[in-house]
Each structure stands twice: as C-alpha cells, then as structure tokens.
Symmetry: D2
Subunit: 252 residues, 4 copies
Amino acid sequence: MKILLTNDDGVQGLGMLKLAEYLKDKYKVTVVAPEKERSAISHAITLHKPLRLKKVKEEDGLKIYAANGTPSDCVKLGIEVVLEEKPDIIISGINEGLNLGTDILYSGTVSAAIEAAIYAIPAIAVSLAETADIEDRRIYKFLENLIEKVLEKGLPKNTLLNVNIPDFKKGIKGVKATILGKRIYIETFQKNYDPRGKEYYWMAGKISEIEKDERTDIVSVKEGYISITPIHFDLTEYNMINILNSWDIKIE
Amino acid sequence: MKILLTNDDGVQGLGMLKLAEYLKDKYKVTVVAPEKERSAISHAITLHKPLRLKKVKEEDGLKIYAANGTPSDCVKLGIEVVLEEKPDIIISGINEGLNLGTDILYSGTVSAAIEAAIYAIPAIAVSLAETADIEDRRIYKFLENLIEKVLEKGLPKNTLLNVNIPDFKKGIKGVKATILGKRIYIETFQKNYDPRGKEYYWMAGKISEIEKDERTDIVSVKEGYISITPIHFDLTEYNMINILNSWDIKIE
Amino acid sequence: MKILLTNDDGVQGLGMLKLAEYLKDKYKVTVVAPEKERSAISHAITLHKPLRLKKVKEEDGLKIYAANGTPSDCVKLGIEVVLEEKPDIIISGINEGLNLGTDILYSGTVSAAIEAAIYAIPAIAVSLAETADIEDRRIYKFLENLIEKVLEKGLPKNTLLNVNIPDFKKGIKGVKATILGKRIYIETFQKNYDPRGKEYYWMAGKISEIEKDERTDIVSVKEGYISITPIHFDLTEYNMINILNSWDIKIE
Amino acid sequence: MKILLTNDDGVQGLGMLKLAEYLKDKYKVTVVAPEKERSAISHAITLHKPLRLKKVKEEDGLKIYAANGTPSDCVKLGIEVVLEEKPDIIISGINEGLNLGTDILYSGTVSAAIEAAIYAIPAIAVSLAETADIEDRRIYKFLENLIEKVLEKGLPKNTLLNVNIPDFKKGIKGVKATILGKRIYIETFQKNYDPRGKEYYWMAGKISEIEKDERTDIVSVKEGYISITPIHFDLTEYNMINILNSWDIKIE
C-alpha cells in the first residue's frame, strides 16, 4: 500500500515526520510537503510561477520531498510528478493545532485532503491539540487503525475525513463522528505601530460565541473525544435554486 | 446603502474599479483590495505577519484602500477596520476570468464572498469571461439589478451568490440559476528547465472531461446564460455520520 | 534624449511619477518600476523565478511599466527588454526618505543606479527628506540642471551620483559634493509577541554615534545642503593585497 | 573562541552545515541562517515586517537557528539577539557556487560578511565551485588555517575577506590574494510564455567578455588557485569630489 503524506507546517513538521516514521514499517510512504510553513493558506494553488521539487531524504520505505508551494500544490505534485502510480490514501498532517468548525475553510491541512478527494483518492486530514504530547504512541496506533479501516471500507465519492485529536493527558472518551461547529470571532485586528511609527493591523481573534451543540467537532474534542468529521466539497446550495429562478432579474 | 468591494486581481483591477465607478452614484462605495494580484489564493488569511492598509483614493461616494493581504483579509479589514458600520452588501469582483465548478475552491474572488457570508453580510462574487468587453454597460446594469434584488429579498443564512457572466458578443440567452459543474484536469504540470539548468514544474492543466449537465454553471455560461450559483459553506457530509459511527475504530 | 526612471517605492511612488511628469516635456521618459514597494532590498536580483512586465500607462513622451522584480531587475528589464536603444541616463528616485552614509548599502534606490553604472550608463540616485514638500518645484528644476550637467560633462567610468535633498522649508544652503558618512545603530531589534503569543523581532535601530565630519553627506544634508556623493562600486581593498600575500596560509 | 555562521543557501545548506560540524570541535559555533534559500538577495534587510527566530538544533558546541530573513538579517539577529557576547569571527558560507568579480554586488553570501564588518567583527565569505566535492577535507582544513590566521593577525578596519575555492579535482595551485575581476553579461533575459500563454522574462545571462587579468579572482580560480580578495565597503569615489565641486550646479 502506498501512502502520500503532506502538511501545512512545512517539511520539517514534527507531527508529519513522526507519522511518516511510524507508517513506513507497514506502508510505502512518500512525503511531499511545503519547504516552509504555510498555515492558513487554505486551498491556494500556484499558477503564476513555477514550482521546485527537491528530494531531501530517501531511505527504506520512505521518501521525503520539499516543494516551494502550498499544501494543495504538494498533493498535485505528489500525484502527478513524484509518484508513478496513484497512492492508495493521502494523509494531511499531523497538524500541530486543531482544525475545527468554520475554521477549516482557512486550513491548509484540510484543503490538501480536499485536493486529494478531487483526485478521487481517499484522504484524511489530521490535527492534534497544541498542548498534546506528540510522542504519545496511542495517536499513531489510532491513525493506523483508521487508515486500515478507510482502506478496507473505502470512502463515499467526494468525501474525506477531518480528524481532530484532543490532548490525551485529559483522558480519552472515545472516537466520535461529528458535524462541523460554528466559530464566530470578534475584535479581529490588533492595531499597532511598527518601530518606524507606521500603523499596522495584526489578526487576533477571540472566539465570541461558545459552540454548545454536542454533535459538533468543537464540543466533542473539548469533551475528550477524537472527532472525525466527514467532509464534502460541493458548495452548491440546492435549496436556493428555485428561489433564485423566481427572482426574474433583468439584464437591461 | 453601503457597499464594500474587493477582488483578487488587486487594487488596480479594471473590473472592480469600473464597477466601483458605476455604483458610486447610487451607493456609498468602499473598496478594500489586495495591493497586488492574488488569484488562486483561495480562502487564505494572514495570521503570522501584520497587515498594512493604505488609502489610495477618496472622492464623492468612493473610497479606495489597498492592503498587503489576501481577498479574505481585505473583507475582514473592510468590515472590522475601515468601515464604521457593517456594509449592506459585499461584492467580490468583477474578476476578469470565469470562476466555475470545482475551480471555485481555488478562487480568491469566491472566497472573499464566502468570508462576507461568514460575517452574515449578503455577498456576491462576480466573474466575467476573459474575452468579454469590460466596457459593456449591460454588465453593470445587470449587476445593479441583481444588487437591488438581493437588498430587497435578502439571502438565506450562510448563503451567497456566485455569478459568472459570459461574453455578450456571442449573444445573451438570459439569467439562469445553476449548480456547480465538475472540472477534471489532466497533465497538470509542464516540466521544464530554467536558464541555469534547474528543473521546474509549472501548473498547466487541460480539462479532461467536458461537463454536459445543462443545470451546471459550466454549461450554462458556455451556452450564453449569465449563471448565478447559490453557494453555501457547510462542508459537513451529513450522510456519512451514521456510516462512520458504525465503523468502531479502536484507539489502542 | 532618453531617460529611464525607476525607484524602490514601487510604480505608484509619487516622487518618481512627479519627476517623470516634469521631465517628459523635455525628454523621452520610460519608467520601469517594481509593482510594489521594495525598499531595503539593496542590489537583490531575481534569478530563480521569471519576471512579468506590464505596461500601465502610455502617453506623449512617457511610458510606464510595472515589473514584479527588484529595482535592479527593473533597470535590467528597462535596458534589455523595454527600450530599443540604451537610455542616455538613468534616474533612480525620487525616493521619499534620505539614503545616506553606510545605509546606502541597503538601499534599493542607490543599487538601481549602481546597476545602471555597471551597464556603463550615467546614473543618478535621488532621495528626498521625508518631511520635505514633494511639490516644491525647485527640486525638479535642480534635478533638471543636474541631469543637463551630467549629459554635458559625462561621468567617469564606473561612477554614479547619489543625491540627497533636504527639506527646503528649513532653507537651502547650496549644493555640496560630499563623502559618505558613518551610521552606527544600537538596539536594533524590538522583541515582542504576536496576537497568538509567538515571539518576534522587529528591526528598529537608533543611531548611536552622531556623524560630525562636515565633508559627509549626513552632516551636509542636516545643515541644509543638497548633497551629491560620487559613488563607485569596486569593493577591492587594494591596500590589503600585500598583507594577505605575506600571510602564507597553508591548505593542508 | 566563538564563531557565528550564516549563508544564503538556507539553514539546510550542506556547505554551511559541514563547516559547522568541522569547526565545532575547536570553537563554540552558532549558526543563524535563512529558513529558505535567499541567493542573489544582496544586502537586503527586513524593515517592514517582523522576523522570527527558531532554534532547530542544539548539541555540544553547536547551536543552529533558522530565521525568516535575509543573510544580513541573520547576521544582525545573531549578534543582537542570539549571542550574549559578540562573536570573534563571522563566516558566511560555504556557498555552493562561486562569488566572483562584479557579481559579489548581488551576493547574499558576501553581503552577510559585509554586515559583519559593519559591526567591526572579522568576517570571511566563503564560496566553492559548484562542481567541487564538498566532502573534500582539504577545504575545511584550509578554512581552519585561514580562520586561525585572521584571529591571530586581525583584519584592517572595515575590511573583510572574500574567499573562492576552485574544484580541487583539477589540482590546487595554491592560495592567492586577488582583486575583483569584471563580469559583463549579454542577452540577459529569456522571453517565454507560461502555460496560460502569459509572457514572462527569465534572467539568463551569458558572460560576454572573458576577464584576462591574472590578478583577478576570476582568472585565479580558473587557474586552480584559492582566491582571497580583501573587500571594503566605502563606496565614496573620492577622485570625483573636486570635479563635482567645479560643476557649479544651479538650484533654480
């Protein structure tokens, strides 16, 4: 079985490298990851300049490449340039920091997995609570089990999984299938002055409304569950088609 | 009525500036746009460095600001920093080039409108065929009508509109509510060598399968319709929740 | 006579555009400037990705191009791509902010003029005190006189001029040929934390030692003179050749 | 003795890492290098956004930091933020690729050493022929000897050394103190079209005139010598001061 790994923390990302090391005994693992950190890059791709690809490591069962692109670029390069055959599964992560609720729209980690799903390859985005112990072997054992399950059962067409793993030090309640919660921010920008007296704005963001729906990824992770949210990427709002057709908008 | 305008072509973008000029007679128009072209940037936001905002023009009914951020950053800056009150509507575009089907996942134009919808502000993303005549007054008259309609009727919660306008030179069939079509690419990268002999890959992409579904934006625009696709941004795949719960994935 | 203009403030830079407008009555003026601000970029050039060139304005006696490169890239593009014949003189500026003493090593404005001199084209870097009135017609009249003089007399091989213009509101003492002064900074970095609590360092820089040598550009500008420093770019320290040869450094 | 190391190839640069490993037995070595490749960046510094510093390795006698800045930024960060005391010497390199003649004006490697000299710290820029064997122990032994000599003898004020090491496979003639040669390029840009049909220009550059002066770094390296060029950074052209004063340039 062939696994393609990527992330948005960059090719030095500890979560991804530890996962690669863990998986390489069982699978043929290829990593194609951004040469530097590209978080909050969402689904950006690089159209207007060329991409570079550099092999940074090769050993038994594991090849690592760095590219000067986004996570989505890396998935494309991995499938179209690096690998001779389509991988059996693509993992994006382990991201150090959760990717929950509305925020996944901004996430490079989740977008890379969506890109894989566009290619019709089973894909899992994996994020870990920042305070968690990345050395905890249970994280890797769980992911191995999940990968096995996905390879065995398959995923529905145009569907991928977004996995968020809480800090195990606070106890593990179990694994839970969740829906995306809502994240509303307030006071998004800190205004300040640089050393030359020039004004700037730095995105801050405090969460304003606490999500309370127990079915959501946000609440589930907070309560100690590993959250698995099934994700699609069809942005059509079918319910509004008829409404729109009734509007009768004039051109001239 | 207050309109906030942005785009991903940058603050010099002709489509946006012409729309701003057209709308400023009727509305109070504020433009906050990237200082340089940021296409294919998707929903990327700038967390790790500060943003700069610069007023580049101020005249009756029109203020224009440039920011060193992404289209989504510009929407956030517009709402949270530039405007004293929430705008009544946000327009992203006019993008010179269509944003259709699966490709909207990569689009900065559409992502800026999604960002607006996250703020619960009615939003329209507008894209124009590259060969079209950006001076054609019918484009602006249609958009004025659409804006009026949205302000009058409102949009359902968490819904925005993605508008694609064909080349009118080939005739206009009318306005059509559409669903997102599918875009599959092949041979995505051109491999080549730079003047110093170093290998590079440049994303190319030929469309491999022709979308034929008449309900889609892709086919509708090709046939000469102005396409309006209602867009949501809830990526939860509800149908798979039960399947996932039945999987019984072990942690250890 | 053909003049090529560039700067490091970007193609919207007011100082450069006003100079271009002033000079276009008398000369054929072509502007090739960075699409965005590139100050403190020094002599950087773009080897590893391609450059784009975009005509942004064309009118009688004046063409303006924007490039996605550095000031030095712009000089190269101007000479090798845009202009059919070598320009008679290249002006870099008017930079809004002085470029004095040791600091010219960091300056994109001065480096662009050095690049011109490498091409054996007479070149002048022009910088203006930040508090000065960029509308003051005397600035432009003086530069016209200086350009005339350089075109008439020529410049020695591998030599260019670095001009710094003080705030005329404080009186003008005259024009003075100067040497580069010394700028020593202390406490160069402000340490701080971003909104996510991550440490960063922002270059600040207070000048520690006041230059007192009256022959220097620093002192001359402070006293109200327009400073003209003749600049070369041969970095060989000839005096040390013999010392080095006496060292007898072993290889193995 | 404390050595600060940097480069413009990035913190993964093999030449720099091998030198660090070699020197750490004898000296206390600290590396502060750009997180990614920054060649041809010249003396650029980062004024308008904050810098990040990340410790990537710590072991006996060797600490390695990555920064999101230029080589000159790294020297400043090394001296002002990372090290408690001024280093005894700063080495920039080993750059994989020579830095010869006029081209050193563009070089990040040489500019980092100039930055060190501005701080009055002895500095050596080191570059190696691209075809050379970076494992050749003689390179490191020679550099150790040179460092010892510089620490013993000191360098004149405002002077640094630019060292270029040829491919030893072609034989080593010895060590030679040199002057900077001249590099003139022709046909600098390759014009081409990207996959979307948009024109671009890629800096190419063929050397047009062959430097023949035996005293130069260019000829010396070609002949098999290790070249050491003493470098200063006073760009004043003193010979032109009197000429300029005689010009009598009018202001109005």
